[in-house]
């Protein structure tokens, strides 16, 4: 439900893994005498090429090449990119459950009273924003009364540009998940009627440490 960049995760992880695998394979291959002899010759060649490059990029009157500064800057850039990557994991919490306004004023549905007879049709001037806390607290209060759940959490996420609700419930051991799913989705439908909007909802029935160590069943 969150905006974790899953494709980027896969690509970068595969790249990171491949680089490590190549370095490992190379290190292991150096244990073979034939490869070690080849490397002896190749490294001298490579060292000479790098030396030429460093000489060519050394400004007059300077002791060292300016490539070192470029390298340091590149490293700073990489660190910034990596921090951005970390910061994007699990992003996407939202504080708005529904927003209604603006769109209705275009396309001929003006505030000229054409829909005056049907209130709630979005014809009134002004915006309506429903805060996510409304749904979260209503559902959490309803779920807290249930004895077959150890715990529950409700959060709002921005999913594909739209607000969506994530309801996470932790049933006691042995509680049938289909019963929980049906009853929670009935709560969601009641919420739909109350709010007058329909958002995508994810009901995640999970087990946690608390479900494992609490008593299995209770009289319902």
């Amino acid at each position: 439900m969150n905006q974790t960049p899953r494709t980027i995760n896969r690509i970068l992880l595969a790249l990171f893994g491949l680089i490590l695998m190549a370095a490992g394979a190379f290190t292991a291959a150096l244990a073979v005498p034939a490869v070690a002899r080849w490397w002896e010759a190749a490294s001298v060649e490579a060292g000479r090429a790098i030396g030429h490059l460093l000489d060519a990029t050394t400004l007059e009157g300077q002791r060292d090449s300016w490539l070192w500064l470029v390298l340091a800057l590149l490293m700073v850039l990489t660190v910034i990119l990596m921090i951005t990557w970390i910061a994007n994991q699990g992003k996407g919490r939202s504080g708005v459950l529904a927003h209604d306004g603006g769109a209705h004023h275009s396309g001929g549905r003006d505030d000229d009273g054409t829909h005056a007879g049907s209130p709630g049709n979005g014809t009134a001037a002004g915006d309506v924003t429903i805060n996510s806390a409304v749904a979260e607290q209503a559902l959490k209060a309803a779920l807290a009364e249930r004895v077959d759940l150890v715990n529950s959490s409700v959060s709002t996420w921005e999913f594909k540009g739209q607000p969506a609700l994530k309801i996470r419930v932790f049933p006691r051991q042995g509680v049938a998940p289909y019963v929980v799913a049906e009853e929670v989705s009935a709560l969601v439908q009641a919420l739909d009627v109350t709010l007058g909007t329909q958002t995508p909802v994810l009901i995640s029935i999970s087990s946690g440490a608390r479900t494992r160590f609490t008593r299995a069943e209770r009289v319902r």
Binding site: L20, G47, W68, A164, L202
Partner: protein, 195 residues
């Protein structure tokens, strides 16, 4: 349910059934950051004409160039293999499908995903009631295509295997897990005493 909501709901189900790989990503990013910070420090020292902190670029380059000079081949091979395995773990985390131990239940309004553990404990409860044994005597394992129910009967009390099978199948049918897994009930040959 509105069409757009149902489309987003089915996307959410697919997303929840697979791992996001956030943990290996963060580990990889932290490793890269540490390496980059060190290289940056050494490069900056070199650019400023200072002495290197641990090993300067030239020192490192000549050490890599002189490999495997003086290092035992077995040690070199082991270090390489270790590095390769760590790389392989990251690579496989990226390439494998990353399916989580979860199942989805069809629902008219919402996307519903259930941890396999939750379903297993509800199946175990039904099996236990049908067999008339204590919770410790039933073990349920849920695979992708197979539900494995292991029951240890109480010594001296016969156990109706068919009833257990029927109860577990009935619970699975009510849960409407798709695809329906096969149920296999295994009754242990030896019973437990004093339950």
């Amino acid at each position: 349910m509105k069409e757009e909501t149902s489309r987003l709901t089915s996307q959410a189900v697919r997303r929840e059934m697979h791992s996001s790989r956030a943990v290996p990503s963060v580990i990889a990013a932290v490793l890269v950051i540490l390496l980059c910070l060190y290289v940056m420090l050494e490069a900056a020292l070199k650019a400023l004409g200072q002495d290197p902190w641990l090993i300067g670029p030239e020192g490192l380059a000549s050490w890599i160039g002189s490999l495997p000079g003086g290092i035992e081949p077995a040690l070199l091979g082991a270090a390489g293999a270790l590095l390769f395995i760590v790389g392989l773990i990251f690579f496989l985390a990226a390439v494998l499908p990353g399916r989580r131990a979860r199942l989805s239940i069809p629902n008219g309004r919402a996307a519903v995903v259930v941890d396999a553990e939750v379903l297993a404990s509800s199946l175990a409860r039904r099996a236990r009631v049908a067999a008339g044994v204590t919770p410790e005597q039933v073990l349920v394992t849920i695979g992708r295509r197979l539900v494995d129910v292991q029951v240890r009967p109480t010594s001296g009390i016969p156990l109706d295997e068919q009833a257990v099978q029927a109860a577990v199948e009935d619970e699975l049918r009510r849960t409407a897990v798709d695809p329906v897994p096969e149920v296999r009930v295994a009754v242990a040959p030896s019973g437990v005493i004093g339950q």
